[in-house]
Structures are given as structure tokens and as C-alpha cells.
Amino acid sequence: MSELTLTLIKLGFLAVLWLFVLSAVSVIRSDIFGTKAPSTPRPAKQGKAPAAKQKTKARKPARGVATRLQVVDGPNAGQSVPLSEGPILLGRGTDAAIRLDDDYVSTRHARFATNGEQWFVEDLGSTNGTYLGSQRITTPIPIGLGIQVRLGKTIVELQK
């Protein structure tokens, strides 16, 4: 084996090693350099989101921005709380935004929070759970206008 061949093998190997590193980087380039934000994010989102996965949005094409959280059913039906930047706590406790008078609701039951665009509902480890339809939620779930969320016997939804 001549010196030259060994040197070529050495350089070739280093080249392959770096090729590997660079292709790995290229697969995740969006992580490193960031995704290109769409120029008009809002229409793009509304156009795509219902078609992609949010079946409920297609069924109830509620547009606009939610301004209040309304209790639609249960002992506290009719009460509402205006939405702002901060999170909204629901439960039987005194620190809740709406003190739900519902035996099936925990003291600190669920929290509604926003990231500025989208509202999320999160269960706070309640005894009877928070439901979206038949699905008991375990993680923060994005919710849109008019989607009913059930806590015990109480049903709340976001309204305009």
C-alpha cells in the first residue's frame, strides 16, 4: 500500500465524515436557520388549518377573535369572563376566574391560556377531568371559537 493511496484514503474518509455531518445539518436546517415565516400568516393559516386537521373548524367556520369565555351549561350557565392576555383559571376555588358551583369540578380544575394567537385549554390534574367531546385531555389543546369544553357538569366555550 503506497503512501499516496493511504493519504487519499485518509482524506476521503474525512470528506465522507463531513459529508455526513453536513447532510445531517441539512435535514434539520429549518431548526438552525429558522422557518421562513409566510408573508401573510393569517390568511395562510385559515386557509390551510381547517383542511389539514381541524375538523371542527370546518364544521363551525367561526371567524374572528374570541373575546370572552362563556359558561353555556351547568350551575353557572350564563356567566362569562372577558379574555385578556393572562391565563384564566376555572374551578371551585376562590382564585378561579369563574367560581363554578359544580360538585363535579375540582378546586383548580382547568386553565385557559393564550400564546397571543391561539387559545389553549389545559387540565390542572382535576379529579373528573376536562373533556373535549369524548376525549379527556392530558396536554394543553388548542381550541377555537365555539368548541365546547366540559368540566364536570359545566360546559364552557370561547365566544366572540
Binding site: M1, L6, T7, I9, K10, L11, F13, L14, V16, L17, W18, L19, F20, V21, S23, A24, V25, V27, I28, D31, I32, T35, A37, P38, P41, A44, K45, K48, A49, A52, K53, Q54, K55, T56, R59, K60, Y104, N115, G116, E117, Q118, Y131, L132, G133, S134, Q135, T138, T139, P140, I141, P142, I143, I147, Q148, V149, R150, G152, K153, I155
Partner: protein, 457 residues
Amino acid sequence: MTTPVWLPRKRRGAEFFLTVLAVFIGIAAYASVGLGVEGTIPADTYKLGGALIVVAVATHLVIRRVAPYADPVLLPLVIALNGLGLAMIYRLDLGRQQIDPERAAFANSQLVWTAVGIVAFAGILIAVRDHRRLQTLTYTFGAAAIGLLILPLLPGIGQTINGARIWVVVLGFSFQPGEAAKVCLAIFFAGYLVVKRDALALAGRRVIGIDLPRGRDLGPILACWLVSVGILVLQRDLGSSLLFFGLFVVMLYVATERPGWIVVGGLLFGAGAYFGYAAFGHVRVRFDAWLDPFADPDRNGQIINGLFGLAHGGILGQGLGQGSPQLTPYSFSDFIAASMGEELGLTGLMAIVLIYGLIVERGMRIALTCRDAFGKLLAAGLAFSFALQVFVVVGGVTRLIPLTGLTTPFMAQGGSSVVMNWAIIGLLLRISDQTRRPAPEISSFASDEETQVVKLS
């Protein structure tokens, strides 16, 4: 803030392409070791090549089947590191046996341990369908971690090798329980901090712009510090002690978002380090070897050899099989980074460090996108433990920090390390699969009457 439209993509094709490249790197390294040492491609290249291909195909298929949305680059990165490590261990076997034919060969046993690691990896992906299940076992994992840490201290099965009492020998097999304890501790810390973080985030006094935690909340961090000092005193293991404490402090910081914890952790670490330096000869030896290795060349032979090796490698390296890394004691485990540096040069070592960096980046990305707090903390903790470990080992070998005995993940010879690191990757991929999977469809509530609460009135 704009939320980009999240289209779940599996990207298994990209993973397959990278995996092919990673396997090629492993086989090419093995073949070029043979060419460099003996002038021929080793006759058993098919063995290692076949094993790597089996590993790659098996893991790829497991992921396609049970975690289809998992991160696409973690697996190829790990396979590349593992392949490089195997080739280097084989190369050091050849070199060390040229010096003395009686010396043990490690390549085959490392291959077997890699296979065990793959089984652990697949087992975790199959058994743990949802990482949030682990949260219910928080204290079980905490107890398991303590048990694993105590194991080497028990008379009979515990064994002291090279001054550190971190080994357990059962039925002729020896392993380091500390590696498994690391994973258990990460799970325990994540589960514990998710529940307790609100209390721990309460601030006490504000000093130069940093909120320091309240005095009464210092209990957990002090307990963890005491355990770490205990490892240092009883097991004489500098590296693990640093790793466990660093892991806890960082997870505490991630959970509470309070830089004050880093300050408290740093002070405690400083106190521990000073105490170790003052009280223990072995810590002082490490410190002196770091500050001035050439003051006592006989005692610091290993680190000096490692430095000579790195210098010998230079920018482009000597080429696989053509340097002399076997002259360094423990060139196949503690000093494998120096061996790589000698044969692949700065160029190759940088690529390897970048691969580690990408693994850590993927781990942090998983933590960022994860939707539940437990998964976030666990992924961040595992990724950080990986980063800290690589920093401590490579930093020690290159004399940036004092040398401590930790293993270079996936490359260093050592069964427990390889198996547990594969397990860590399994956990990360599981969290990543949960994270990237499209959200379950939300159906409107009005339609399903059957889930209504029974109305008695």
C-alpha cells in the same frame, strides 16, 4: 409571535439516507484501519459490516413501526458514532497486541454490548408507548437510582477498579450501575420537579438583579449535593459526582426559570470542589496534572501521551491505523477522544464533536416542542447530561478542565455505557414521536350524548 402551520412530517426517508451514510462511515473506518495497519482490508470486515447493517435495519424498522414520527437524525448520528467507536477499538486492539500479544481485545465484546444496547433501545420504544407513563413511577425511579448508586459500595459484589469503587461484578459480568442511575435520576428529577416547581420558583431576596431562592427551599438541592459529595467520598468518582449534580441544577433551572438556582448550584459546586481538593489526594493529583502535567511526567504519563497524540495528529491526522494511539493507557476508553484526534486529526475530531453537538441540539429541540412539562424536563435533562458528559471527557483529555473518569458516549469501550446511552436515545425518540405526532382530532362536543354526565333530576 407567529405560529407556523405545523404539518406533521415523518421524514423516515431522510433518516434512511443518513443511516446508509452512517453505516458506510463505520465500515469504511474499519476497512481503512485494516489498510493502515496491515495493508489489507481485514478478513472479518463482513462481520462488523454485517453487524452494523443489521443494527441499522433493525433500529430503522423498529422506529418505522412503533415511533413513526420520531426525530429523523438522532439515530443516524448515533450509529455513526457507534461505528467509529467500534473501528477505533478494533484498531487499538491491533496496536496494543503488537506491543504485547497477551493484552485483551475489546472489539468483539463491544460489538456484543452494542447489540444489547439495540435490544434495550427497541425494548424501551416498544414497552414505553407514552413517556408520560413514566411520570407515575417518579419515586420508583428515584429509589432505583439510589439503590443503583449504593450497589458498588456493598461488600461482595462491589469492586474497586483503578481507584474508583463504581463497579459491580455478578457472575463474572462487571458493569457500572452509575450509568443506569443517570437515566433513573433524570426521570426522577423530571417527575419531581414538575410537581414541586411552583414552590421552588418562589423567589426570596434579590441580589444584583438575580432572584435568589428562599432559604427554606434549599432542601432538595442540598440533598442532591450531599449525594454527589457522597459519590465523591465513598466511590472516588469525580465524573459521576459532577454529572449528577450538574444534571439536577440544570433541570431545576429549566423547571423554575430562575437563574438564582444556577448561582446557588455554582456556589455549592465550588464548595464541593474545594473540599475535594483539600481532603482527597486523588482529586489533588487530577488538579495538579491539569495545571502542570509536565511537572511530574511519570505520574501524568497518560495525559501527556494523550496531548502528544493530539499534536501528532495535527490538522488532518495520521490516518486510521497509522498513528500510535495505543501508547496511551486506556486509549480505548477514557482517552478514545485523543485516539480519534491522533488518527483523524482536528478535522475528524471537530466532526465528531459536531455530531455530539447535533445530538444535544436534537434533544433540546425535542424539549422545546414537547407539549407536556414532564417530557420537556426529561428531554432537556437527558440532552444536557449528554452534553455535560462529552464536555467533561473531551475537555479533560484536551486539558481544558481537570481529567475526570466519564465515558465518551457511544465510542468508549464499556458495556454499561453503550447500553444505557442507547436507552437514552430510545427515550428521546419516544418523546420526540409523541411531540411530532399530529394532535388527535377534536370532535365537537354536542354530537356525543353518550359521554354526558348522568343527570338525576
